[in-house]
């Protein structure tokens, strides 16, 4: 890292970094690719950029955490099916592949000089910048909820310490307690995530604290795989999970942290023994810093290449981007990371960028032996990114237990595979 820093400082001190970069691009040889964020999108992009570009590209991945904890399967940690260590991934394999991994936080982006600067004081030059910072929260949208409040009422919507905190609260709760889960309105990271979470918490309660219940106070009326979740909940948990749609009480607008109470627009107050509030979200802050976010808080892109429509030579992938009809999922982010890496390497080499193709499959566990899924294939058709007609969809309703068990097995297979594909 210090070597890199010195080199880039020298570059910046001499001619502008952009001028410094120009010859490599003009010769069609490759160039410097900087990836921000070592999660699903960013780590995929960095690994595949190095694989496709080889020695012609200089790939740097910047991520503040030494170990990345995945949100996927963090619900299984809450349910007691996994420990937190099993969902942590490091960057040693990435380094072995020749990706420069910088453990730091990007705090500045200079588009004229084509550099990023970090909290640790490094300045790193790029020809192409790929941002995959995931989400940040819109603190203040829910009255009374901020970063400090999240230490008492966890969101656990970024995995790691927040996951452990919520798990500890569940363990400390007495039998007969009420766990409140308050999911946000659309759009947000992982549409089926809150409902898999309700399932996994209910599994834990059913096995350890059977008099307890899960109360979902939702800020919407409908959710991903809803009929399948409702079918599964009825079958496995009976009345243990209760769902209150926003049309009944209104969306959650306020939280009383000390009183462990969520308050809705229509004035309903729901008090829990454990409260898990998932607040409204936006693109990770570095996307704002880079000037690539719109008023909505998310980053508009050309959905063929994932190039920002606001800044040149900058790409935004994963949750931070507006990639509809693709959902904000780890699978989507990784799928985008790989294809965008290929496109960036090709464009640096002076080759045409091929049309993209993406896929998504989101598994959810209703119970350890009860899996359901939603899938879709995405293609570039008629100048648009579309979900391919007739592809994908959800698992069948009323399927036999053997089908659900097989999907549960494939869920864990998926996790092992995608983790190996990204961080392995």
């Amino acid at each position: 890292m210090s070597r890199l820093t010195r080199r880039e400082f020298t570059a910046a001190a001499g001619a502008s970094a952009a001028a410094f970069a120009a010859p490599a691009v003009a010769q069609g040889k490759g160039g410097r690719i900087v990836v921000v964020g070592g999660g699903f999108g960013g780590a995929s992009a960095a690994k595949y950029a190095k694989m496709f570009g080889g020695d012609s590209v200089d790939v740097t991945l910047i991520e503040p955490n030494k170990t990345f904890y995945t949100c996927p399967f963090s619900n299984l940690v809450l349910g007691g099916l996994r420990d937190i260590g099993s969902i942590g991934h490091g960057f040693d394999a990435m380094k072995k592949r020749g990706v420069k991994v910088v453990q730091d936080m990007v705090t500045g982006v200079d588009h004229a000089k084509k550099t990023v600067t970090t909290a640790g004081g490094a300045s790193i030059g790029w020809d192409r910048l790929i941002l995959s910072p995931g989400i940040d929260f819109q603190w203040g949208k829910i009255k009374g909820y901020d970063a400090a409040a999240a230490e008492k009422i966890p969101h656990a919507w970024k995995a790691g310490p927040q996951t452990v905190l919520l798990r500890k609260q569940l363990e400390a709760m007495a039998d007969g307690g009420v766990v409140i889960l308050a999911p946000p309105a659309n759009p947000f990271r992982c549409p089926p995530g809150p409902y898999e979470r309700a399932s996994m918490i209910a599994h834990y309660l059913k096995t350890k604290k059977p008099k307890s219940k899960v109360l979902i106070v939702d800020s919407k009326d409908k959710f991903s795989k809803m009929p399948l979740f409702l079918e599964g909940w009825k079958k496995v948990y009976g009345p243990m999970i209760e769902f209150i749609p926003q049309s009944k009480d209104g969306p959650v607008t306020e939280v009383d942290v000390g009183g462990k109470t969520v308050i809705t627009e229509f004035g309903a107050k729901h008090k829990g023994d454990v409260v898990n509030l998932i607040p409204p979200q936006k693109a990770g802050k570095v996307a704002d810093i880079a000037g690539v976010t719109a008023k909505s808080g998310w980053a508009p892109i050309d959905r063929r290449t994932f190039a920002s429509t606001m800044k040149k030579d900058v790409y935004v992938i994963g949750d931070a981007s507006i990639a509809s009809p693709m959902p904000k999922s780890g699978f989507s982010a990784s799928s985008q990371g790989k294809v965008v890496a290929a496109g960036v390497v090709d464009s640096l080499a002076g080759k045409a960028v091929a049309d993209p193709s993406f896929a998504n499959t989101c598994y959810s566990l209703v119970a350890p032996e009860y899996g359901i899924s939603v899938a879709k294939v995405y293609a570039w058709q008629g100048g648009k990114l579309v979900g391919v007609k007739g592809s994908g969809g959800v698992s069948p309703k009323g399927a036999p237990a053997s089908f659900r068990a097989e999907e549960a097995r494939y869920a864990s297979g998926w996790y092992a595979s995608i983790a190996a594909d990204i961080w392995g």
């Binding site: 595949y48 050309d302 063929r304 290449t305 190039a307 920002s308 429509t309 040149k312 030579d313 699978f331 990784s334 799928s335 790989k338 294809v339 290929a342 090709d346 464009s347 002076g350 080759k351 045409a352 960028v353 091929a354 049309d355 993209p356 193709s357 993406f358 896929a359 499959t361 899924s373 899938a375 879709k376 294939v377 995405y378 293609a379 570039w380 058709q381 008629g382 100048g383 648009k384 391919v388 007739g390 592809s391 994908g392 969809g393 698992s395 089908f403 097989e406 999907e407 097995r409 494939y410 864990s412 297979g413 998926w414 996790y415 092992a416 595979s417 995608i418 190996a420 594909d421 392995g424």
Partner: protein, 103 residues
């Protein structure tokens, strides 16, 4: 989707980045882009580390046969029949061609 078509639909920035390439190269990179999705469930280069069947080291004809079987409902599955419906014959041929060569 027709394979090997040019960057006509690209946005402004993309268009600026795109150079002209021979159609063969386009088809090849299209096969790659199509096949990259497979690895998210079947593991890197198709070498699955866990419960999902591995797809590495298969020849092109085999992969085409399996994909068409899933798509047309002759081959029963949990999710593959839903995935396979997303690809045309040309796309299945292109992705199978790439998968058969990847290491």
């Amino acid at each position: 989707m027709k394979l090997g078509y040019g960057p006509a639909g690209a946005g402004l920035i993309a268009a600026a980045l795109v150079a002209v390439a021979p159609v063969g190269a386009q088809a090849e990179s299209s096969g790659r882009n199509l096949a990259l999705s497979c690895f998210s469930c079947h593991g890197p280069a198709g070498k699955s580390p866990d419960t999902i069947p591995a797809i590495n080291g298969k020849n092109k004809a085999f992969i085409v046969k399996e994909m068409v079987g899933f798509r047309d409902g002759k081959r029963k599955s949990t999710v593959m029949q839903r995935i396979a419906k997303g690809y045309s014959d040309a796309e299945i041929s292109a992705l199978a061609g790439y998968l058969a060569t990847v290491k």
